[in-house]
Amino acid sequence: MTAPAESLRKQILAAMQRRDFSLDDDAFNDLALRVFEFQFTHILPYRKYCERRQVQPGRVPHWLQIPAVPTAAFKEAALVAGDANAAQAVFLTSGTTQGQEKRGKHHVLDLELYDASLLPTFARFVLAYRKQMPIISLVPEWQPGGTSSLGYMITTAMRELGGPESGFAVTEQGIDYEQLHDWLHDAINENTPVCIAGTSLAFVHWFDHLRANNLSFQLPARSRVMDTGGFKGLERSISSAELEDAYAELLGIGSKYVINEYGMTEMLSQYYDAKLPNAAQHAPKQGPPWVRFAVVDATTLEPLPPGETGLLRHFDLANLFSVSAIQTEDLGRTVEAGFQLLGRAAGAPPRGCSIAMDMFLSAVQP
């Protein structure tokens, strides 16, 4: 690593380690501009992308003017500031049920930066600074070579923040209900609150199982859920209100303790519902201070005023060795102290009598 990169990395790590979980706007902007210069210099496809839009380091005063790469780019090129073969992990975006689509790849050169970002964020938003809480995962354990960014995140959080009662209630066949229910009974017997982490879909499947077997739990107070992900392209979907009711009915966990995570494979930092410790109705999504967002117009990509719905764009300092400026397909709007997530702007049906790409993929499948 070059000396300037090492110094930049150290400053970002230092910002992540601050106990007050703060980074003022100027300090963030200064780091962002230096990160941009570093990425422009070392990631050739990104450099070309910027040059095509006539943007280069030194010419933009604010991080919002740094060209944001659409997440689709991760499907086509290795966006990595260094040797892609030296990546400590390569995370893949989830495919759709059609399995035809290319999957995005995030080459992570520096897992330490990922850890430094995810741990204090998880501690702040999910555990609300409790020293430790058993974490029960519905997501498989990450092993070296694993491609699930979510798996890595939960595995790391469990190792560092979960304590000895934690575990993965999954086998290769899916959720290990027997194991999961044993652990939950233990928690109830010992009156120890637990954190259950998984995808919304895993919870839905589990709840189907509980209902089919007439089972439910009344978990100890302050037990919580961290769920994530939507139902795009999946066979089973459910509204978030229905899911919230199920958490209360089947686990005894009220909405204050249901923390929805918003993250993506292409980005190492995460946002969470900012509910704890003082629950707010309709809590906004918040992230750590080293990732910033903007809501932009879907067509022009110009930033929109608070309250207007548009696409979310992020700038994540933890993505130092990939691309920090990410343009998503997620709809949101800026609200006080964060943003509201409003779904995905994908799968547009054609307005006329032709067939659009997504429909077409399914149409031509045998």
């Binding site: 790469v69 702007a345 307005r351 006329g352 009598c353 067939i355």
Partner: protein, 453 residues
């Protein structure tokens, strides 16, 4: 704020309406009555009565009335295009171009050609005429008493063409408009009624949200023939509502493409740009892909020419309003091309079009809204094997081939399921007499009676 009544219904229906539905578009508001199943039954009974007047009108008079209606609408083109632009999202010049083509299609000459192409002697709609082949035999053609037409999409005019065929068949017709274009069919019906009340009274047009089960069940059960435009899902739903043994005519969503032969020129590139810009590529006759016979370099050079023409058209006929999902789909297509080592992207982010030259010859469905894939093929004879399933194929545009080559390729494409082969510039403008989706759309609305001597 201007409010337009986007329905054409018998007056006695409106007396019993207690609730109204509104849809707001910029400074324009459309209004519809909220109907129930009884309303639908009353409308259908009314239409069946009105049909007697239609049966007494010679088809030549119906043609003349429709032609006069088209002429009247042409006189209001400016205002209609403006309102349709607000409602559909297409830019005013795009709507105007589409309307001009459509209004020509609805003129007397075009309608007569269509009737003759399908029926040989259109007077068989009035009375039995001698069969041109079988001596001594006479043939008459009858429309079904009550037709239901269910529209989809937002390309202006397609719905009206469908209503016109139904009127020529002398069927009283209930039209359910599409959310994307609920206006022009109503303007047509209202104008026709002013021109020829005895013909216009056989039409009823309105909108209700697709999937309103009670209304659709009732309408589907009442109709003697049902014509449905739309995707697989809508078609499946409607087919459940049609009475067993009654006719269901389906116009599903389809895709088109083009092939540029060895002699294709800069002018051909300009023509395909026109086909991509026409109604923002939303039609079943809009091209998704241009195959260029030659190597990747030739495909790139064609891509360059097409993009120059699309850039000019972006000024003259701008791309319409996009939803967030459409904007994302375009950005994803562009991003994939820009970051891929096997593709080249033409057109800037804000250019209002994208041309993507791609090495991989596999057919690729475009996300539309002026996004064209250009792919090299070693020989035009390879194209037929690259196409998607025949059920989804519509038209092919050919340019730059010798007559012999064009005939051979047309034959191959026909075997693959392509139902129309044409020039690039004609691609988005199929004539009134075309075999839509490979069928005879007028004949599909009729039953024939043989009178043997």
């Amino acid at each position: 704020m201007k409010t337009i009544d986007a329905f054409f219904l018998p007056a006695n229906i409106l007396e019993n309406v207690t609730e109204w539905r509104f849809q707001q578009y910029e400074d324009l508001r459309l209004r519809w009555p909220v109907l129930d199943a009884d309303h639908i039954k009353t409308i259908c009974a009314h239409l069946r009565e009105q049909r007697a007047q239609l049966l007494n009108t010679p088809v030549a008079d119906i043609v003349a009335a429709i032609s006069k209606t088209a002429h009247t609408l042409h006189g209001q083109l400016h205002d209609i295009a403006r309102d349709l632009s607000v409602v559909t999202g297409y830019s005013v010049p795009v709507v105007t171009q589409t309307l001009e083509h459509m209004l020509r299609d609805w003129g007397a000459a075009s309608l007569q050609t269509m009737l003759r192409a399908e029926l040989s002697d259109e007077r068989m709609l009035d009375h039995a005429v001698p069969d041109p082949v079988v001596p001594g035999k006479h043939v008459a053609a009858f429309g079904y008493p009550l037709a239901l037409h269910v529209f989809s999409g937002n390309v202006p005019g397609i719905a009206v063409t469908s209503l016109i065929r139904s009127l020529l068949a002398k069927s009283a017709t209930l039209g359910k408009t599409a959310a994307g274009e609920p206006l022009l069919p109503v303007l047509f019906a209202r104008t026709l009624h002013a021109v020829a009340p005895h013909i216009g009274a056989s039409l009823a047009i309105t909108y209700w949200p697709g999937g309103s089960e009670q209304l659709e069940k009732t309408a589907g059960a009442e109709a003697d023939v049902v014509v449905v435009y739309g995707g697989d899902e809508a078609v499946r739903a409607w087919s459940d509502y049609v009475q067993p043994g009654r006719r269901l005519v389906v116009h599903g969503a389809r895709v088109s493409f083009t092939v540029a032969g060895p002699a294709a020129t800069r002018e051909d590139a300009a023509a395909i740009a026109g086909a991509v810009a026409a109604y923002d590529q939303q039609g079943c006759v809009s091209p998704h892909v241009l195959y260029v016979v030659g190597d990747f370099e030739r495909a790139r050079s064609f891509a360059h020419d097409v993009s120059e023409s699309l850039a000019e058209l972006a000024q003259l006929q701008p791309l319409g309003r996009l939803s967030a999902a459409e904007a994302v789909a375009i950005r994803n297509a562009r991003t994939a091309a820009e970051f891929s080592s096997d593709a080249d992207l033409f057109g800037d982010d804000d250019a209002g079009f994208s041309v993507i030259a791609e090495r991989d010859p596999a057919f690729r469905g475009s996300c539309l809204n002026r996004v064209l894939y250009i792919k090299p093929v070693a020989s035009a004879d390879d194209v037929a094997s690259l196409l998607p399933a025949r059920d989804y194929l519509q038209s092919a545009g050919l340019a730059g081939f010798s007559i012999d080559d064009a005939e051979r390729i047309a034959r191959q494409l026909g075997l693959a399921g392509v139902t129309r082969v044409t020039r690039f510039d004609q691609l988005p403008w199929p004539p009134m007499h075309w075999h839509h989706d490979g069928a005879a759309p007028m004949r599909e609305l009729l039953y024939f009676q043989d009178v043997e001597s």
